[in-house]
């Protein structure tokens, strides 16, 4: 089985590269013949990726969340999967290349540096921790997809304002749709992050003897949660539209990245396992 895992580990970046290539080709050329091919290729890539994650879990007897590079491959999958769901639900296909690019980068880094760890801390074998980490990663994937749509919104907004009718104008969906995609991604990301945080608050104190509510990672994630919470409320209650809502999601994304970097690289936290 280990040989299969290594082969798929080598194959996955190639599959993501092909998928990205076909999405970017479609973005530039808009040819109907690749319209369905790209979706099928993304599906095949994700299917192989999920098998890979299952194989790793079975072979090494722990979910693939025990080191940064396992997290990266899960992140690559969750980004691709979240986009795939969004594409299926909305049938809007013009933005895929910009999201699959993130999957490609994470998977390349993961495939190069990933290690086959059999011996890990006992707590990392916990299923609840698996759900906690997976929902957090899917939540962050939602915020990433929202941010990508937010950036695309601004690009299109700028082009229409300046009466520039180039590639961005031709290929992207309308501003209203980009805003909707951004908002849906934020809401899905927010729900998943909330689930992850609830599991964390309820289960982590019993699992970690040195658990602390003043832990830097907990505080930083709470800030991220608060930013998105205010953003969602301002859209639903204050009926904010367009640019202002997008700005919230972009600020939230930047805060999320900064907090992740700071809490992982600088602060000392019980949350660090590797």
């Amino acid at each position: 089985m280990i040989n299969t895992i290594h082969s798929v580990n080598f194959l996955l970046p190639i599959l993501y590269l092909f998928t990205f290539a076909i999405y970017i080709y479609d973005f530039f050329k808009d040819e109907s013949k690749v319209y369905n091919t790209k979706r099928v290729l993304l599906f095949v890539t994700l299917f192989i990726h999920v098998l890979y994650l299952l194989l790793r879990t079975i072979e090494f007897n722990h979910p693939p969340i025990t080191n940064k590079f396992e997290i990266f491959t899960v992140l690559a999958f969750s980004l691709g999967f979240a986009y795939f769901l969004l594409e299926l639900l909305t049938d809007i296909r013009g933005t895929g290349a910009f999201i699959i690019l993130f999957s490609l980068i994470f998977q390349i880094v993961s495939s190069i540096f990933i290690q086959d760890l059999v011996e890990v801390k006992e707590v990392l074998r916990s299923k609840l921790l698996g759900v906690h980490v997976m929902s957090a990663l899917l939540g962050y994937s939602g915020f990433t997809i929202a941010a990508v749509h937010g950036v695309l919104f601004f690009l299109l907004y700028k082009d229409i304002k300046l009466n520039k009718y180039g590639l961005v104008f031709k290929r992207l969906p309308s501003l209203e749709i980009l805003e909707k995609l951004n908002f849906y991604s934020v809401v899905i990301g927010f729900i998943l992050l909330t689930i992850s945080m609830l599991i964390g608050f309820l289960w982590l104190p019993s699992a970690f003897p040195d658990f602390s509510y003043s832990d830097p990672k907990l505080i930083s994630v709470s800030i991220v949660w608060l930013v998105f919470f205010i953003g969602i409320l301002s859209k639903l209650i204050a009926k904010l539209y367009g640019k202002k809502v997008i700005i919230f999601s972009l600020v939230g994304f930047v805060v999320a990245i900064i907090s992740l970097l700071m809490s992982n690289l600088i602060a000392d936290t019980f949350h660090s396992f590797y």
């Binding site: 229409i160 104008f169 309308s174 909707k180 539209y241 367009g242 640019k243």
Partner: protein, 431 residues
């Protein structure tokens, strides 16, 4: 094939002349009757605002394109129509030209999708007036197929090529669902009407018209199932509208920067699309500086029109390839025209012999044996004729050596005396 044709179009003639030779549906009928007398034995007439064209097979070898032009001149009584206003076509160029017209690449606005249905109407009229036969009907088929393939297989009809349509293209990049949007049309002239009709055709939720003369606003509102608002107070209602379109003849600005600023703040930032297609402009262009206001005037919309026209021009070689394929198909078909009757005669010659010989033995064998013999005779003739039929047809369809095909056809006719129709295996004269 001796197909001839003339075309008076936007390249050759000014609008006054095109109007003078334009034929209404009833006039086309009358003109076809005139042509049928002694000029064309089959053909058709196309007449639109940009072209009047006559094509057909001459009734006699003396008829030329000059006769078509003289007949049209006489029919419409147009004195100032001269040779310079006319494009003349012979057999090969006629067919290519008709295909070009049907595909839209010969139109003033390249890729014009209306021309195909106009061609089809002309073809239908020709059929209804008994002015078409085998060749012209095949030409109709080829032209219609070229038109359909051009739309299906190329981008020749894609993209907005008028300012109003270009504006709709921009609106659709801002709003996802026009059914929930409201539009205000300022002015009730021809341009406003056209734009309002475009908006209506895109199922915009509601259209409101305002005009100095309220009656005119009412008339246009009725046409597009919309409402009206008083011209003196329309600026107070600007915040209600997602799309504002202005096309009046006013010399002064009708909508100021402050009007739009107030409207957008009442809308909490929900975007407004403004299309000012008036000259001089009706809306202060500085409104484009306001957040969530998307302002377009004629110049900016013409950028889209030009882009789309260029894109359509790039598609012309692909359409020409389709035309070339279909013209080849036509000639393949045409080349078989002489061969098919010979094949039919040959087959009927053998079938007559078969029938005659079977009749002779009908009463000499049992019914069961007769059926077997009948089957055998049919198979025998089928096998004998298989190779000559296929080879002759292929030779004609290839079209590169039609003389060879004609020679083989003549040999067959001579050897089997096919010009004298056989009667039960015997010649008509009883020899």
């Amino acid at each position: 094939m001796n197909l001839i044709g003339i075309s008076i179009n936007y390249r050759t003639s000014p609008i006054e002349l095109r109007e003078a030779v334009n034929l209404s549906f009833d006039e086309q009928k009358k003109f076809i009757s005139a042509l049928k007398n002694n000029i064309l034995k089959e053909g058709f007439v196309i007449s639109t605002c940009n072209r009047t064209e006559i094509f057909g097979i001459p009734a006699t070898s003396n008829v030329s394109t000059a006769d078509l032009y003289e007949e049209l001149k006489k029919f419409r009584n147009v004195e100032n129509l001269n040779k310079n206003n006319i494009e003349e076509y012979d057999s090969h160029s006629s067919l290519k030209h008709i295909a070009k017209v049907a595909s839209g690449i010969d139109s003033l606005i390249i890729g014009d999708s209306q021309i195909l249905s106009q061609c089809k109407e002309s073809f239908r009229l020709s059929v209804d007036e008994n002015f078409s036969n085998t060749i012209t009907r095949k030409i109709f088929d080829i032209a219609a197929r070229v038109g359909k393939r051009a739309i299906r297989e190329t981008l020749i009809s894609q993209g907005a090529v008028t300012v109003s349509y270009a504006a709709i293209q921009v609106v659709e990049k801002i709003f996802a669902n026009l059914e929930k949007k409201e539009a205000l049309v300022i002015g009730a002239g021809e341009t406003s009407e056209l734009a309002a009709i475009h908006l209506k055709s895109r199922n915009i939720g509601k259209i409101t018209i305002t005009n100095r003369t309220i009656e005119k606003a009412g008339q246009l509102a009725k046409k597009v199932s919309g409402e009206t608002v008083n011209f003196e107070e329309f600026t107070d209602h600007l915040y209600k509208f997602d799309v504002i379109l202005s096309a009046t003849g006013s010399k002064n600005l009708l909508v100021t920067f402050d009007d739009i600023k107030k409207a957008i703040s009442k809308r909490r930032g929900t975007p407004i699309f403004i299309m000012d297609i008036a000259i001089p402009r009706d809306i202060d262009p500085s409104v484009k500086k306001i957040d969530n206001v998307f302002y377009n005037d004629i110049d900016s919309l013409n950028v889209i029109v030009d882009q789309n026209l260029n894109k359509r021009k790039d598609e012309i070689p692909r359409v020409e390839q389709i035309i070339s394929e279909e013209v080849d198909n036509f000639y393949n078909w045409h080349n078989t025209l002489g061969v098919v009757p010979t094949i039919k005669s040959l087959r009927s010659f053998f079938e007559e012999i078969e029938h005659d010989e079977l009749e002779k033995i009908k009463n000499k064998v049992t019914e069961e044996d007769y059926i077997k013999l009948e089957d055998m005779a049919k198979r025998l003739i089928g096998r004998i004729l298989h190779n000559p039929t296929i080879k002759l047809r292929k030779l004609a369809e290839k079209g590169d050596n039609i003389d060879n095909a004609n020679q083989h056809t003549s040999t067959l006719k001579y050897l089997f005396d096919l010009d004298n129709k056989p009667l039960n295996g015997k010649k008509k004269n009883g020899k």
